[in-house]
Protein backbone atom coordinates (compact mmCIF):
# COMPACT_ATOMS: atom_id res chain seq x y z
CA UNK A 1 0.00 0.00 0.00
CA UNK A 2 1.22 3.41 -0.92
CA UNK A 3 2.33 5.82 1.70
CA UNK A 4 1.59 8.71 -0.61
CA UNK A 5 -1.72 10.48 -0.54
CA UNK A 6 -3.21 12.81 -3.10
CA UNK A 7 -5.16 15.94 -2.37
CA UNK A 8 -7.34 17.74 -4.86
CA UNK A 9 -6.87 21.28 -6.07
CA UNK A 10 -9.57 23.36 -7.64
CA UNK A 11 -8.60 24.88 -10.96
CA UNK A 12 -10.39 28.15 -10.33
CA UNK A 13 -9.01 28.41 -6.85
CA UNK A 14 -5.51 28.09 -8.30
CA UNK A 15 -6.37 30.73 -10.84
CA UNK A 16 -7.85 32.88 -8.13
CA UNK A 17 -4.57 32.86 -6.27
CA UNK A 18 -2.78 34.25 -9.27
CA UNK A 19 -5.48 36.55 -10.61
CA UNK A 20 -5.42 40.30 -10.68
CA UNK A 21 -8.69 41.22 -9.09
CA UNK A 22 -11.70 39.88 -7.31
CA UNK A 23 -15.33 39.81 -8.34
CA UNK A 24 -18.83 39.05 -7.19
CA UNK A 25 -18.52 35.53 -8.28
CA UNK A 26 -17.85 32.33 -6.54
CA UNK A 27 -16.02 29.16 -7.28
CA UNK A 28 -18.30 26.18 -7.24
CA UNK A 29 -16.73 22.99 -6.07
CA UNK A 30 -17.70 19.67 -4.68
CA UNK A 31 -19.77 18.26 -7.50
CA UNK A 32 -19.46 14.91 -9.14
CA UNK A 33 -20.26 15.25 -12.80
CA UNK A 34 -20.85 12.68 -15.49
CA UNK A 35 -21.63 12.93 -19.15
CA UNK A 36 -24.63 10.80 -20.02
CA UNK A 37 -25.39 10.09 -23.66
CA UNK A 38 -28.31 7.95 -24.72
CA UNK A 39 -27.45 4.83 -26.61
CA UNK A 40 -28.91 4.50 -30.04
CA UNK A 41 -32.67 4.17 -29.86
CA UNK A 42 -32.70 4.27 -26.06
CA UNK A 43 -33.71 7.86 -25.40
CA UNK A 44 -37.15 7.03 -24.14
CA UNK A 45 -36.01 4.12 -22.05
CA UNK A 46 -33.26 6.23 -20.59
CA UNK A 47 -35.66 9.00 -19.71
CA UNK A 48 -37.92 6.52 -18.00
CA UNK A 49 -35.06 5.02 -16.05
CA UNK A 50 -33.80 8.41 -14.94
CA UNK A 51 -37.28 9.41 -13.90
CA UNK A 52 -37.64 6.27 -11.91
CA UNK A 53 -34.24 6.52 -10.27
CA UNK A 54 -33.97 10.23 -9.60
CA UNK A 55 -37.41 11.64 -10.07
CA UNK A 56 -36.18 13.89 -12.86
CA UNK A 57 -37.60 14.37 -16.29
CA UNK A 58 -34.68 14.62 -18.66
CA UNK A 59 -35.05 17.75 -20.67
CA UNK A 60 -34.79 17.43 -24.42
CA UNK A 61 -34.11 21.15 -24.66
CA UNK A 62 -31.36 23.23 -23.08
CA UNK A 63 -32.54 23.24 -19.47
CA UNK A 64 -31.54 21.97 -16.12
CA UNK A 65 -33.76 19.59 -14.22
CA UNK A 66 -33.14 18.82 -10.60
CA UNK A 67 -34.34 15.75 -8.80
CA UNK A 68 -33.56 14.04 -5.59
CA UNK A 69 -29.87 14.78 -5.14
CA UNK A 70 -29.11 14.78 -8.84
CA UNK A 71 -29.39 17.45 -11.50
CA UNK A 72 -29.36 16.80 -15.17
CA UNK A 73 -28.40 19.68 -17.41
CA UNK A 74 -28.85 19.31 -21.12
CA UNK A 75 -25.47 18.98 -22.82
CA UNK A 76 -26.29 18.38 -26.46
CA UNK A 77 -28.73 16.23 -28.37
CA UNK A 78 -29.51 13.17 -26.25
CA UNK A 79 -26.77 14.17 -23.85
CA UNK A 80 -26.76 15.49 -20.32
CA UNK A 81 -24.38 16.33 -17.59
CA UNK A 82 -25.51 14.63 -14.43
CA UNK A 83 -24.38 16.36 -11.27
CA UNK A 84 -24.46 15.31 -7.67
CA UNK A 85 -22.70 16.24 -4.49
CA UNK A 86 -19.29 14.67 -4.49
CA UNK A 87 -19.15 13.96 -0.78
CA UNK A 88 -22.18 11.73 -0.92
CA UNK A 89 -21.53 10.43 -4.43
CA UNK A 90 -17.82 9.67 -4.68
CA UNK A 91 -18.31 6.99 -7.29
CA UNK A 92 -20.94 8.81 -9.19
CA UNK A 93 -19.82 7.90 -12.70
CA UNK A 94 -19.53 4.22 -12.00
CA UNK A 95 -22.80 4.12 -10.15
CA UNK A 96 -24.53 5.82 -13.00
CA UNK A 97 -22.95 3.56 -15.57
CA UNK A 98 -24.24 0.61 -13.69
CA UNK A 99 -27.68 2.03 -13.25
CA UNK A 100 -28.00 3.12 -16.85
CA UNK A 101 -26.38 0.05 -18.35
CA UNK A 102 -27.44 -0.50 -21.92
CA UNK A 103 -29.34 2.77 -22.01
CA UNK A 104 -26.58 5.34 -21.91
CA UNK A 105 -22.87 5.83 -22.25
CA UNK A 106 -21.46 7.48 -19.20
CA UNK A 107 -18.16 9.33 -18.93
CA UNK A 108 -16.68 11.04 -15.93
CA UNK A 109 -16.52 14.82 -16.25
CA UNK A 110 -16.02 15.74 -12.63
CA UNK A 111 -12.61 17.15 -13.36
CA UNK A 112 -13.13 18.27 -16.91
CA UNK A 113 -14.73 21.55 -15.98
CA UNK A 114 -14.19 24.47 -13.67
CA UNK A 115 -17.38 25.96 -12.32
CA UNK A 116 -18.14 29.48 -11.23
CA UNK A 117 -21.33 31.15 -10.16
CA UNK A 118 -22.35 34.71 -10.85
CA UNK A 119 -25.27 36.39 -9.24
CA UNK A 120 -26.73 39.75 -8.37
CA UNK A 121 -28.40 42.57 -10.21
CA UNK A 122 -25.43 43.12 -12.47
CA UNK A 123 -24.84 39.46 -13.25
CA UNK A 124 -26.34 39.82 -16.70
CA UNK A 125 -24.26 42.89 -17.48
CA UNK A 126 -21.11 41.10 -16.48
CA UNK A 127 -21.94 38.03 -18.50
CA UNK A 128 -23.05 40.03 -21.53
CA UNK A 129 -19.46 41.14 -21.98
CA UNK A 130 -18.51 37.70 -23.18
CA UNK A 131 -21.52 35.48 -23.48
CA UNK A 132 -23.18 36.04 -26.86
CA UNK A 133 -26.65 34.82 -25.97
CA UNK A 134 -29.69 36.64 -24.72
CA UNK A 135 -29.82 36.36 -20.94
CA UNK A 136 -32.90 38.50 -20.46
CA UNK A 137 -35.30 36.71 -18.08
CA UNK A 138 -37.77 36.36 -20.91
CA UNK A 139 -35.26 34.73 -23.19
CA UNK A 140 -33.37 32.78 -20.55
CA UNK A 141 -35.76 32.10 -17.72
CA UNK A 142 -34.90 30.23 -14.55
CA UNK A 143 -33.81 26.71 -15.34
CA UNK A 144 -32.47 27.54 -18.78
CA UNK A 145 -29.17 26.17 -19.95
CA UNK A 146 -26.93 26.87 -22.91
CA UNK A 147 -23.76 25.65 -24.47
CA UNK A 148 -21.93 28.61 -25.86
CA UNK A 149 -18.73 30.52 -25.31
CA UNK A 150 -17.62 33.33 -23.10
CA UNK A 151 -14.92 35.50 -24.57
CA UNK A 152 -13.86 32.68 -26.90
CA UNK A 153 -13.84 30.07 -24.13
CA UNK A 154 -16.40 27.31 -24.36
CA UNK A 155 -18.92 27.21 -21.54
CA UNK A 156 -21.91 25.22 -20.49
CA UNK A 157 -24.07 27.48 -18.38
CA UNK A 158 -27.38 27.49 -16.67
CA UNK A 159 -29.58 29.66 -14.52
CA UNK A 160 -30.67 27.95 -11.36
CA UNK A 161 -34.32 27.22 -10.94
CA UNK A 162 -34.27 28.24 -7.31
CA UNK A 163 -32.50 31.58 -7.22
CA UNK A 164 -31.07 34.03 -9.71
CA UNK A 165 -27.67 32.37 -9.91
CA UNK A 166 -25.82 31.65 -13.11
CA UNK A 167 -23.39 28.78 -13.13
CA UNK A 168 -20.76 28.60 -15.84
CA UNK A 169 -18.65 25.58 -16.51
CA UNK A 170 -15.57 26.00 -18.67
CA UNK A 171 -12.96 23.39 -19.56
CA UNK A 172 -10.65 23.02 -16.64
CA UNK A 173 -7.50 24.00 -18.49
CA UNK A 174 -9.05 27.34 -19.44
CA UNK A 175 -9.85 28.26 -15.86
CA UNK A 176 -7.18 30.89 -15.55
CA UNK A 177 -8.13 32.78 -18.72
CA UNK A 178 -11.77 32.38 -17.93
CA UNK A 179 -11.22 33.87 -14.53
CA UNK A 180 -9.28 36.79 -15.96
CA UNK A 181 -12.11 37.57 -18.30
CA UNK A 182 -14.75 37.22 -15.62
CA UNK A 183 -12.97 39.43 -13.15
CA UNK A 184 -12.16 42.04 -15.75
CA UNK A 185 -15.78 42.08 -16.83
CA UNK A 186 -17.04 42.37 -13.32
CA UNK A 187 -14.62 44.89 -11.96
CA UNK A 188 -16.63 47.82 -13.28
CA UNK A 189 -19.35 46.83 -10.79
CA UNK A 190 -17.09 46.70 -7.72
CA UNK A 191 -17.97 43.15 -6.91
CA UNK A 192 -17.26 40.86 -4.02
CA UNK A 193 -15.83 37.38 -4.08
CA UNK A 194 -16.90 34.22 -2.38
CA UNK A 195 -16.04 30.57 -2.37
Amino acid sequence: MSSLTLTPTNALASALNSSRSSVAIAVLDGLSIAHVAARKGQSAALAARVKELFGVTLSQTPRIATGSNVSFVWAGPDQWLAMARADTNPDFERDLRGKLEGLASVADQTDARALATVRGPNARHVLAKGVPIDLHPKAFPAGSAAITHASHIGVLMWLSEADDTFTLACPRSYASSFWNWLTESAVEFSPAVGE
Binding site: T61, P62, A75, G76, P77, P132, I133, A146, T148, H149
Partner: protein, 97 residues
Amino acid sequence: MRISCPYCGERSLDEYLYIGDATVTRPDPAGANAQADFYKYAYERTNPAGAHKELWYHSAGCHAWLVVERDTRTHEISSVETAKDVALKRNVAKGGA
Protein backbone atom coordinates in the same frame (compact mmCIF):
# COMPACT_ATOMS: atom_id res chain seq x y z
CA MET B 1 -24.98 36.04 -39.79
CA ARG B 2 -26.92 33.92 -37.36
CA ILE B 3 -27.89 30.30 -37.72
CA SER B 4 -30.67 28.65 -35.81
CA CYS B 5 -29.39 25.46 -34.33
CA PRO B 6 -32.36 23.13 -33.98
CA TYR B 7 -31.11 22.28 -30.51
CA CYS B 8 -29.59 25.47 -29.16
CA GLY B 9 -31.51 28.21 -30.88
CA GLU B 10 -30.22 31.10 -32.93
CA ARG B 11 -26.51 31.72 -32.54
CA SER B 12 -23.97 33.92 -34.20
CA LEU B 13 -21.56 32.82 -36.88
CA ASP B 14 -18.61 32.62 -34.53
CA GLU B 15 -20.11 29.59 -32.78
CA TYR B 16 -20.05 27.61 -35.99
CA LEU B 17 -17.53 26.03 -38.32
CA TYR B 18 -18.18 25.53 -41.96
CA ILE B 19 -17.13 22.59 -44.04
CA GLY B 20 -19.05 23.04 -47.29
CA ASP B 21 -21.34 21.42 -49.77
CA ALA B 22 -23.93 19.08 -48.32
CA THR B 23 -25.20 17.80 -51.63
CA VAL B 24 -22.25 15.49 -52.12
CA THR B 25 -22.23 12.27 -50.17
CA ARG B 26 -19.58 9.70 -49.61
CA PRO B 27 -19.69 7.26 -52.53
CA ASP B 28 -19.61 3.51 -52.33
CA PRO B 29 -15.97 2.69 -51.63
CA ALA B 30 -16.46 -0.68 -53.27
CA GLY B 31 -18.02 0.76 -56.41
CA ALA B 32 -16.54 0.07 -59.81
CA ASN B 33 -15.42 3.67 -60.28
CA ALA B 34 -14.67 4.36 -56.67
CA GLN B 35 -11.65 6.53 -57.33
CA ALA B 36 -13.40 8.72 -59.89
CA ASP B 37 -16.45 8.92 -57.67
CA PHE B 38 -14.38 9.88 -54.66
CA TYR B 39 -12.56 12.49 -56.71
CA LYS B 40 -15.90 14.08 -57.57
CA TYR B 41 -17.10 13.77 -54.02
CA ALA B 42 -14.01 15.33 -52.53
CA TYR B 43 -13.20 17.97 -55.11
CA GLU B 44 -15.87 18.95 -57.58
CA ARG B 45 -18.27 21.59 -56.37
CA THR B 46 -21.32 23.15 -57.92
CA ASN B 47 -20.53 26.30 -55.96
CA PRO B 48 -23.80 27.93 -56.92
CA ALA B 49 -24.72 31.58 -56.69
CA GLY B 50 -28.03 31.13 -54.96
CA ALA B 51 -29.45 28.41 -52.79
CA HIS B 52 -26.73 26.24 -51.31
CA LYS B 53 -27.05 23.28 -49.02
CA GLU B 54 -24.06 23.18 -46.78
CA LEU B 55 -22.68 21.58 -43.67
CA TRP B 56 -22.03 23.58 -40.53
CA TYR B 57 -20.80 22.36 -37.18
CA HIS B 58 -22.04 23.91 -33.98
CA SER B 59 -18.56 23.77 -32.58
CA ALA B 60 -19.00 26.19 -29.70
CA GLY B 61 -22.42 24.80 -28.95
CA CYS B 62 -23.90 21.34 -28.97
CA HIS B 63 -21.48 19.82 -31.52
CA ALA B 64 -24.26 18.96 -33.90
CA TRP B 65 -23.54 18.98 -37.60
CA LEU B 66 -26.22 20.86 -39.46
CA VAL B 67 -27.41 21.02 -43.03
CA VAL B 68 -28.17 24.64 -43.72
CA GLU B 69 -29.77 25.94 -46.85
CA ARG B 70 -28.53 29.44 -47.49
CA ASP B 71 -28.46 31.83 -50.38
CA THR B 72 -24.84 32.57 -51.22
CA ARG B 73 -25.75 35.94 -52.71
CA THR B 74 -27.71 37.31 -49.75
CA HIS B 75 -26.65 34.98 -46.91
CA GLU B 76 -30.31 34.47 -46.18
CA ILE B 77 -31.00 31.11 -44.56
CA SER B 78 -34.08 29.23 -45.61
CA SER B 79 -33.77 26.02 -43.64
CA VAL B 80 -31.72 24.22 -41.05
CA GLU B 81 -31.83 20.51 -40.34
CA THR B 82 -29.54 18.33 -38.35
CA ALA B 83 -27.09 16.45 -40.50
CA LYS B 84 -27.98 13.31 -38.68
CA ASP B 85 -31.63 13.53 -39.68
CA VAL B 86 -30.72 14.29 -43.26
CA ALA B 87 -28.29 11.41 -43.29
CA LEU B 88 -30.79 8.98 -41.81
CA LYS B 89 -33.37 9.97 -44.42
CA ARG B 90 -30.76 9.61 -47.14
CA ASN B 91 -29.81 6.18 -45.89
CA VAL B 92 -33.42 5.11 -45.78
CA ALA B 93 -33.84 6.36 -49.31
CA LYS B 94 -30.76 4.45 -50.40
CA GLY B 95 -31.83 1.31 -48.64
CA GLY B 96 -35.37 1.61 -49.92
CA ALA B 97 -34.40 2.10 -53.53
